[in-house]
């Protein structure tokens, strides 16, 4: 928990655009997970309760498609923003060969240092290093999160579209591709749900430095203490380049913290609950049905 200390210096990490993008990711992802998991786990009692709560299977299907549209929306907005950023800072030459842009500290593209950091992190876990690696703007696990969503939206989105518009799809494609789309959609969704609700939640919120929640993605700013502990290389780089002041920001207002924590905890709680239910199902336990009562 971060004290809202007026004395502390705050720096901007995310702008309103990134905040809006992530909020729409959170809402649509939870919506898709809730409405999708009831089908994948249809035989559990909680899926039936949830289906009823959502207004029935047809209504849940409607919500699922709505959140899918939100997902396609943020995906394309993000792609457009990438394109615009590329155009704004255009320099001579093909962008892939602009080393700084592609492999610089602000790029999401993995670089050699990320692999080094990964092994340094493992080394820290097992006691081979006294400290964790010093991350720049994006740690390797944050980059993995980013690409997981990118890949996930592309794969789940395209297979979902195939199933949604199966009438048009089967004008040209054979029907067994719908089977393939169903497998991919369902398994990739399980991967996404498991990854976000277990790995991303821990790496971002439940790690000791952030526990129980990191609201920087919602308030956009973080304290100097957090900055130096989570992104020390970036902090030192900005300091060295004399650009640290550009990033200075006012502390988040109390209402923003309150709102961020409310929203964040709701999302964390929902995700964790779903993860627990999935785990219990894997263990053959239905928490709402006493095992001795059978089906």
């Amino acid at each position: 928990m971060k004290p809202n200390n007026e004395q502390e210096i705050y720096y901007r990490r995310f702008g309103p655009f990134e905040i809006g993008l992530h909020v729409s990711v959170v809402i649509s992802f939870l919506g898709l997970a809730l409405t999708g998991l009831i089908l994948k786990y249809a035989e559990t009692s909680w899926a039936k309760v949830l289906a009823g709560f959502l207004g029935g299977v047809p209504a849940a299907g409607g919500f699922h498609r709505f959140f899918a549209l939100v997902t396609f929306g943020y995906f394309f907005v993000h792609l457009i923003s990438l394109w615009r950023r590329y155009r704004e800072k255009r320099v001579q030459g093909w962008w892939l060969f602009q080393r700084e842009r592609v492999f610089g500290p602000n790029s999401m593209i993995p670089r050699g240092l990320d692999f080094k950091h990964f092994f340094q992190q493992l080394g820290w876990y097992v006691g081979l290093r006294p400290t964790p690696p010093t991350f720049d703007r994006w740690s390797y696990f944050e980059k993995f999160d980013y690409w997981a969503v990118f890949w996930g939206v592309a794969i789940i989105g395209s297979s979902g579209l195939l199933l949604w518009f199966k009438d048009y799809a089967t004008l040209i494609l054979p029907g067994w591709l719908l089977n393939a789309a169903f497998i991919v959609h369902s398994e990739e969704a399980l991967l996404a749900v498991g990854f976000i609700f277990a790995i991303h939640f821990f790496n971002t919120h439940l790690r000791p430095e952030s526990f129980p929640i990191d609201i920087v993605i919602f308030t956009g700013v973080l304290s100097e203490r957090e900055f130096r502990s989570k992104h020390p290389a970036e902090f030192e780089r900005l300091q060295r380049e004399g650009r640290l002041e550009e990033r200075r920001a006012s502390p988040p207002p109390a209402w923003a913290i309150q709102l961020a924590r409310t929203f964040g905890f709701t999302a964390l709680g929902t995700g964790t609950l779903l993860l627990v239910l999935i785990f219990l199902k894997a263990l053959g336990v239905d928490p709402f049905v006493a095992p001795w009562l059978g089906k």
């Binding site: 876990y125 006691g127 006294p130 010093t134 089967t170 029907g175 497998i183 398994e187 991967l191 277990a198």
Partner: protein
Amino acid sequence: MAVVGFLIAWLAPAAQNPQEAESCRLCHRDLTLEPLQSSVHKSLSCTICHVGAKQIPHEQPTDPQICATCHPKTQAYWESVHGRGLLQGIPDVPNCAACHGGHDIRPTSDPNSRVFPFNLPQTCGGCHGNEKLAVAHQIPVPEAYQQYLESVHGQGLLRSGLLVAATCADCHGAHDTLPNSDPRSRLYPSRIPETCGRCHLGVLNEYQASVHGKLPLEQGPVCTNCHQTHAIQPPREKAFQLASVLACADCHPEAFDTYRESYHGQVTTLGYAGVATCADCHGNHQILPPEDPESTLSAANIVSTCQACHSYANANFVAFLPHVRPSDSQTAPPALYGIWLFMTALLFGVFSVFGTHTLLWAVRGYVVPAVAPLLKLLPRRGKRKAAPKTSTEEENHEAQ
């Protein structure tokens, strides 16, 4: 006419031998003869039925054998589950009067008769809907009456007033009621199609031509396997459609499992009809194997079968595999098995690497700091040769 009517009304009770009735009443003081006024037996004297009453003290109570002196066609009763129970001296077993009434007995064609179709379920339900009697005598279906009332037959009879709707006796027989374990019973499993077919003849004909109807009757499903016995629901009822899937599952567990894994199966598992159940694709009474040209799933018919819901269905669409287990390399098409294998490997890979990563982080971040000071194991910051600052500079240099 009026005079004749009056005379009959006046004479008829007299035929009951009023002197005899009055002498019975000397002891049986609470005996009222009113029910007898409308009884089909009103012209009989007491001792025709109460034969033992001629001697005092009376030798024996009225016995079904005495009814049989006038009603010889009811001999089947002694073979029935009720008659045999009576012979064994089991209490509560119905004799003739228990169903037909005693003093108030009426012809079975009289709408007020206890065994007239509208009244029969209640008469049988007196025992076959009575919890205490069900426990006492191990009646096999304790709530038969309640289930029947809700059933398509019970509703047809009692709500719609249809005399053609089946009542208890139409299926179970009346005097000859036998347990369904008895091969002579109309409800012995292999005789069920014939029994239901007495009313549902068209369905019986379809069934007999189907893959199920051609099986030896001991093996194949009969009407009640899908439709239940007492709790028969209208086939358009969602609850019936959902339950029918489970009925198919009894014999087709593999197809059931793959159905449950499909979208159709997931939706019906959640209790929502409106998507295809077994019968929507395979048909119901006339069900035939897909190889049969007449089958709903034959090459000639499958597109129109799918079109019942998916109006745009074409030859591509019907190549969808509704029953497939992608994890089974033996039965699944190689492409689907390959996709499943890839997805499984992807999930396993990601969760192994990042699961371990997160678990180790939790240990390093929470457990070690809590435990290490006690054990003095934790390497202390800055005391090692490679201080973090150095590495930061080094990395940044690398990054640029």
